[in-house]
């Protein structure tokens, strides 16, 4: 077989047509580019916030000025924060019925399947468009259980005491530069409170859509699952591609009380001009469980390391993540766990695929404090590179301060195996289908953890196409 006759196959980029449809840039108000105390005051004033929140924002801005961009990880030089519009209010107030949402915005969410999913399989939905939540709804049966599901702005009005107690208590603005930025210009997001002893059978979902070019999205998600309760929360995000860079610096703070369980699923499909610098953290009390399921498919640069702090005895963290880095993408993702109490458990299972010169890095920390005797942790990271141009790295940090722990770590980095491709082809399966099978098989353990419609979508995303012809 001559070189010329050899067909070249490749895994196609994730088809972005669906996400790339954008609406004309309309707004009722947008902040000037860049970041000044006046802009921050203006955002706070327009939201009619209590003065403590205005102060909180200004203090965060001060910290932001003082902190440097992290010296490690992906290069952020091209992120020109002085040119990011930090606040874009869409030309509508928040609605409780899709019929009241302006046509073009509604159609965006219809294309993304949000109202359909709400109808079919969700207990409540929040939909954010640029800086503000434009739609929020929760099923009556859930509300009757006493479950609170609100956009953050409404939550700040209706549950000011709770918000003041919890807001950015877990991720303080001093945590890093983008946390400080978030504290200064946060807008939108969701608040969930599940009272003790409630089992919320069907998931809640918030969807974040960034439509405005050159803008930032800084939504804040705050979830408290009280003692013995269960909740599954799904977060989805996407944006159309523009030639200018966008920034996403959201913040997620989760509180899992004694004996409670929270499953937090994220499917991130930002466009390739997005800098996704997101901070997520969960505090888990005695015998509580946090389950992170994380799919990172989009963005130009991602830095995302959901952190679990196991502070109660017997607390447990599970992290299941899949990262798919294509051409021009640098996805630096992973998980952090702090074992701060005895008999705590963590399982981290991360997989990544890189292709077309993309870079996928697993970066994680497991810290086991001296108190955390009889704790267990297993970390497994697997990377699959589909071509010689792509890169993959694994940077696991393990810090153990006591002997009485059970720690397992496994990392595998590899290319797609020619022997496996030949084996499948010898059974009548074409080369491209063989590769697709191997890739699908690789992600299968993760795919089955995703909400069903996302699992189906992910399989569709891993499309393969034949390039070139027999010469």
């Amino acid at each position: 077989m001559s070189e010329a006759a050899r067909k070249k196959t490749y895994v196609e980029d994730i088809s972005r047509d669906l996400y790339d449809e954008y609406n004309p840039f309309t707004y009722s108000y947008k902040a000037e580019r860049g970041l000044t105390p006046d802009i921050v005051r203006e955002i706070s004033k327009r939201k009619n916030e209590p003065s403590w929140m205005t102060e909180f924002r200004l203090q965060s801005l001060d910290i932001y000025y003082q902190l440097d961009v992290p010296p490690w990880g992906p290069n952020l030089d091209e992120l020109d924060i002085d040119n990011i519009i930090t606040y874009v209010k869409p030309p509508t107030d928040m609605r409780y019925s899709w019929d009241d949402v302006p046509e073009d915005i509604k159609n965006t969410f219809v294309r993304l399947g949000i109202p359909q999913a709400e109808h079919a399989s969700l207990a409540g939905v929040g939909a954010q468009y640029d800086s503000e939540v434009v739609y929020h709804s929760v099923k009556e049966s859930i509300a009757k259980q006493g479950v609170v599901y609100l956009d953050m702005e409404s939550a700040l009005r209706e549950y000011e005491g709770l918000i003041k107690e919890y807001f950015m208590s877990l991720v303080p603005p001093s945590d890093h530069k983008f946390a400080a930025l978030h504290g200064a210009v946060w807008s939108g997001g969701s608040f969930v409170y599940v009272p003790p002893g409630r089992h919320v059978e069907i998931p809640l979902q918030s969807y974040f859509r960034a439509n405005a070019p050159g803008a930032g999205q800084f939504e804040h998600t705050l979830i408290i699952v009280d003692e013995g309760s269960y909740l599954h929360f799904i977060e989805g995000c996407s944006a159309p591609k523009y030639s200018v860079n966008n920034l996403h610096a959201g913040c997620v703070e989760l509180f899992v009380k004694e004996g409670a369980r929270l499953r937090y699923s994220t499917i991130e499909n930002w466009s390739k001009n997005m800098f996704n610098l997101n901070t997520k953290r969960c505090l888990v009390d005695k015998n509580g469980v946090i389950e992170w399921v994380s799919g990172s498919f989009g963005s130009r640069v991602s830095m995302l390391y959901p952190m679990s702090i196991l502070r109660g005895e017997g607390a447990k963290a599970e992290f299941t993540g899949i990262t798919f880095a294509g051409e021009g993408q640098y996805l630096d993702t992973g998980a952090k766990v702090v074992h701060a109490a005895p008999y705590t458990t963590s399982n981290i299972n991360s997989k990544s695929i890189s292709k077309g010169g993309g870079t996928a890095v697993y970066r994680g920390v497991v810290k086991i404090t001296e108190r955390a005797k009889h704790s267990k942790s297993t970390v497994s990271c697997e990377s699959l590179m589909l071509d010689a141009q792509s890169r993959s790295d694994t940077i696991p940090v393990i810090d153990i301060a006591t002997d009485e722990v059970d720690m397992g770590h496994e990392a595998k980095i590899g290319r797609i195996s020619d022997a496996a491709i030949f084996y499948l082809m010898s059974r009548g399966i074409s080369e491209e289908e063989a590769k697709a099978m191997i890739v699908r098989g690789f992600v299968e353990p993760i795919a089955k953890e995703l909400p069903l419609e996302y699992a189906v979508e992910m399989n569709n995303l891993i499309n393969l196409e034949l390039e070139g012809t027999i010469g």
Binding site: A420, R440, G441, F442
Partner: protein, 246 residues
């Protein structure tokens, strides 16, 4: 028609700079069972892989003709569709794909027909029972964590499901205990009809005892140096490869 079922003529094959097959010729008629014996490094596995179209091996000259068509340029999956099958010496483990899904996909690909889930499930369970395989293996990932014997049974199962015209068994009997060889042989017998041919590559005589071998070939240093009837197996047993090749 039997004579030209498979015809390999003066085949030269190299990988990298090394020539492994050095003018190998072999003809297998329809319905015939041929055994190829030879020491390690003679080129037995290379022959099996070249017949299946492994891209690592380059045919520098010679032809492989199968059912009247020269297949030198066909890709592995095209050869499978033409009716060739290779039972691998070291079957791959493929995570994330269940045996049943994989085999149904493969069967569809080979036959070009959609197959009913239920019918296929029933057929697969029957064929697994024939090989003394636990039916639950159908739901396991392809060959993942299978023992050596289970992997070989999995190969024979795939052969029974895909129903090729010519199956090449590369050391299918090696590493198996006596019972496993018997089960595998039973599976192979089930496959063998007057329409289907077999090439059995082995360096043991055990598997050939259970099968109606028509011809035995001795492969040494990239060539068939001697061919004969089943009695050649006994001579190999008695005198060794080296004595017969000289």
């Amino acid at each position: 028609m039997g004579a030209h079922f498979l015809r390999i003529h003066d085949l030269h094959v190299q990988t990298g700079d090394m020539e492994i097959l050095k003018g190998l010729s072999l003809t297998v008629g329809q319905g015939e069972v041929h055994a190829i014996m030879g020491p390690n490094g003679a080129g037995k596995s290379t022959l099996a892989n070249v017949l299946m179209g492994h891209p690592q091996y380059e045919i520098t000259s010679g032809t492989i003709e199968f059912r009247g068509e020269v297949i030198n340029g066909l890709k592995p999956h095209e050869r499978a569709k033409a009716g060739l099958f290779l039972s691998f010496q070291y079957p791959e483990e493929i995570p994330g794909i269940t045996m049943e899904n994989f085999l149904r996909t493969a069967k569809s690909a080979v036959t070009g027909e959609q197959i009913s889930l239920l019918d296929f499930h029933r057929e697969l369970q029957q064929k697994m029972a024939l090989l003394n395989m636990d039916g639950q293996y159908a739901a396991r990932y392809l060959n993942m964590g299978f023992s050596g014997g289970e992997k070989k049974k999995s190969e024979i199962l795939q052969m029974l499901v895909l129903e090729p015209k010519l199956a090449i068994l590369d050391e299918t009997d090696s590493g198996l205990d006596v019972d496993a060889v018997r089960i595998v042989s039973a599976g192979v017998q089930k496959f063998h009809t007057k329409d289907n041919s077999l090439i059995i590559i082995t360096h043991h005589s055990r598997i050939t005892e259970d099968l109606p071998v028509d011809r035995v070939h001795l492969l040494l240093d990239g060539r068939i140096v001697e061919s004969g009837g089943p009695e050649l197996v006994d001579q190999v047993e008695q005198y060794g490869f080296a004595a017969l090749g000289s």
